[in-house]
């Protein structure tokens, strides 16, 4: 029996789908069987980010409505062995699925896979309730922005009475330089507000935009810092002790000089 994770955030656009794609791919690269489930019915994205859009025949709604079996709707990834995607329907909406059906699908998947990762839609309505219904563990994604942290806090509150509490925390799109200048919330600000353990901090990285548009997760890129951070998260999920990445930018020669003469903080 595999573990079912849900990746959620409350706020839209903080990187849930990117997180699902990258952590899922990284787990599969480590030799696990992984199923990614797009629960964002009507606004599906995960297939695009994974570059598998053109392979969709059946989707999640077809499965719950009994048109096909789960294994027929699963799309095999084109690059990594053991990685599969269960896409969302694009022509329907969130009411096409209920929590009990979602739970059933997750249970079926967890029999054949080591990890099932559900991509939750933004918001706290039915789509959210569907997505968390079958999960055993939750990952809350936030960016170091006040509004994103506020929504994450709201979602964590909603998870409190469930078996998903306490969730893991991923801080996405982190800009160390801005945080150091005090222009952005830093990791400890976010952590102290949300009172959760941090599973990973993903630095802001242009490579994410490029790889997302290409339909190719950043974890394939060895020189991407964000990709490295996602690979680290996967290793932590697998139980390895991996310290948080050093995100301080190197200051160059001038910085080195300043440090030597004691000018730099």
């Amino acid at each position: 029996m595999g573990e079912v994770y849900v990746v959620t955030s409350g706020k839209g656009g903080v990187g849930k789908t990117t997180t699902v794609a990258n952590i899922g791919t990284a787990l599969a690269m480590c030799g696990n069987k992984v199923a990614l489930v797009d629960a964002d019915i009507g606004l599906r994205n995960l297939d695009v980010v994974m570059g598998l859009e053109n392979r969709i025949v059946y989707d999640l709604v077809d499965v719950v409505e009994g048109f096909c079996k789960v294994k027929h709707a699963l799309i095999k990834d084109k690059r990594v062995e053991g990685l599969y995607l269960l896409p969302a329907a694009q022509t329907r909406d969130k009411s096409a699925v209920n929590p009990a059906q979602m739970k059933e699908v997750c249970e079926q998947l967890s029999q054949d896979f080591d990890f099932v990762i559900v991509d939750c839609p933004a918001g706290i309505e039915q789509g959210f309730r569907n997505a968390i219904a079958g999960a055993e563990k939750a990952i809350v994604v936030t960016t170091p922005e006040v509004s994103a942290v506020r929504d994450a806090d709201r979602v964590i509150g909603l998870l409190q009475p469930t078996n998903l509490y306490p969730p893991y925390l991923v801080i996405n799109r982190y800009k160390p330089q801005m945080a150091r200048r005090g222009d952005m919330l830093d990791v400890s600000d976010v952590q102290s507000t949300l009172a959760l353990d941090v599973l990973g901090v993903i630095p802001d990285d242009e490579a994410i935009v490029v790889t997302t548009n290409k339909g190719e997760p950043a974890v394939f890129k060895n020189n991407s810092k964000a990709g490295q951070a996602f690979r680290n998260i996967a290793r932590r999920i697998l139980g390895e002790e991996v310290p948080l990445m050093e995100l301080e930018p190197s200051d160059g020669l001038l910085g080195l000089f300043k440090r030597i003469v004691g000018l730099s903080r």
Binding site: R150, D151, D153, R154, G157, Q160, T193, A195
Partner: protein
């Protein structure tokens, strides 16, 4: 000494004013003396006991009731600003969208995050950061207070008063502070300062 217990005849019945600075035991003794000395006056009347800001436990209320009944056979009615105020202890962080509603005092061991609301008819104590909204004395008790280890609320309400955080540069608190109503406005003072001034 006589001022600890004062009698007043009103249309509703006999009003007994207790001096809330005095301790409960002394008050009971004084009340009993007075009731016994004037038992004919109270015969069958409804006795309204005003305990001021004193907070009484349920046992203490029962004791008062028994005493009134034994002395004159009358019924006890309590009128008070502070009595029967139970305290609710909550050991967790109150998050955005969550609401704590309580008829009594509330003590929170944890933070109150932005977007969360704590509403109590009595006092509110936050053993952590208060960054959301707190309303003490929600049924109109302007004497209620709000205390927090770190006072950074979006809004404070005490009784019928309301105040919000300044728009410019959020005032960061350094230590424990207490909010209360003074001269028609909510003011925040350092906890130590409040202690020193009694």
């Amino acid at each position: 000494m006589d001022e600890d217990v004062v009698f007043k005849g009103t249309r509703e019945g006999v009003l007994v004013l207790l001096n809330d600075v005095q301790d409960f035991e002394t008050l009971c003794k004084r009340l009993k003396e007075k009731l016994d000395a004037n038992s004919h006056f109270f015969q069958g009347a409804e006795v309204i006991v005003d305990t001021g800001k004193m907070s009484l436990s349920e046992e203490e209320v029962a004791e008062l009731g028994d005493m009134v009944k034994a002395s004159c056979g009358g019924k006890l009615r309590l009128r008070t600003a502070g009595s029967l105020r139970r305290t609710f202890l909550l050991k967790r962080t109150i998050r955005c969208g969550q609401e704590v509603l309580y008829d009594g005092n509330v003590v929170i061991v944890g933070d109150v995050n932005p977007g969360a609301e704590v509403i109590a008819t009595g006092d509110i104590v936050v053993m952590g950061k208060l960054r959301g909204m707190a309303h003490a004395g929600a049924l109109g008790d302007d004497a209620a207070v709000i205390a927090a280890l770190k006072m950074e609320p979006l809004q404070l309400r005490i009784g019928s008063y309301i105040s919000r955080s300044p728009d410019d540069d959020r005032a960061n608190s350094n230590g424990p502070e207490v909010a209360m109503v003074k001269d028609g406005a909510i003011v925040i003072e350092e906890l130590l300062e409040v202690y020193r001034n009694g």
